[in-house]
Subunit: 182 residues, 2 copies
Amino acid sequence: MSEIKKWDILDSQYIIKRPWLTARKDRVKLPNGQINDEFYVLEYPDWVNVIAVTEDGDFVMIEQYRHGLGRVQTEICAGVVESGERHLDAAKRELLEESGYGDGDWRLLTILSGNPSTTNNLTYCYVAEGVRKISSQHLDRTEDVAVRLLSRDKVIELLRKDDMKQSLMVAPLLRYLFMPET
Amino acid sequence: MSEIKKWDILDSQYIIKRPWLTARKDRVKLPNGQINDEFYVLEYPDWVNVIAVTEDGDFVMIEQYRHGLGRVQTEICAGVVESGERHLDAAKRELLEESGYGDGDWRLLTILSGNPSTTNNLTYCYVAEGVRKISSQHLDRTEDVAVRLLSRDKVIELLRKDDMKQSLMVAPLLRYLFMPET
């Protein structure tokens, strides 16, 4: 059985380094000796998202416009881990800022990648059960986010109808809703 | 209930346009009147992937090095839809090229996005049941891919242990394995 090995980086240079887009071009050598002169990697900080469920069993979702795809989407709360911040703290902060919900019992459900080929970061997906509204929203000036409480059945309908597109959210929701724990 | 609306694009310019990385910077206006001078969108062709299961119930997986994350990953076959190609044809082509497997009964399972905020493309996720080996691999010179046949239990173990990172593959696998059809 052939063994798959890492590539060697022969050269690496940044094309753009901005807070919301950092891209580098690597010149790489494969184990078979082949050279790829142009392999792009997008560098991001780690991301977090959270499946937040109230004491009544409703899912705390947010609706917002997603400019890449050009569609309004109903999603779970998510965001970026700030420098020096713990992943769990980032998830709690994002849920509070975007929805005003907090408290509850938290656990890490899964750690995923949007694209292991082209991106260098991971997304930590949490579950928070028994959350409740403890403050108002605190949005950045370029955020336009509406909170929506959805029943479990409505969330399942959203998934079944393929209305939620973000795979970094669909995967943990499917795991939480349907995968047996052991 | 507040209505979430699209943003207006005030200006748009390409930063880089290469076969494997096309990025544009949009100047956008939100419905609340706020301007964001710097919103980056990554443009890609649509992608496809396929959960391929043999007549014996084994899953046709591939192992390859993923340079963005810097890890060897066991994944399902996947690739890019070529210009003018139908999505289903692209999925059949990728499965055949990467694994040598083909035939079987095909259906579209779900259509997802790696990131609706920053990317403009969709990934069409297929299921192919009853596939069989009909040719050898046909890889590009910069592909280093090993075929692995995994039992259903092994695939579930891979998911449960969080060893497969690619959310565009984890989501359809969880849907296929665990979500009731209705």
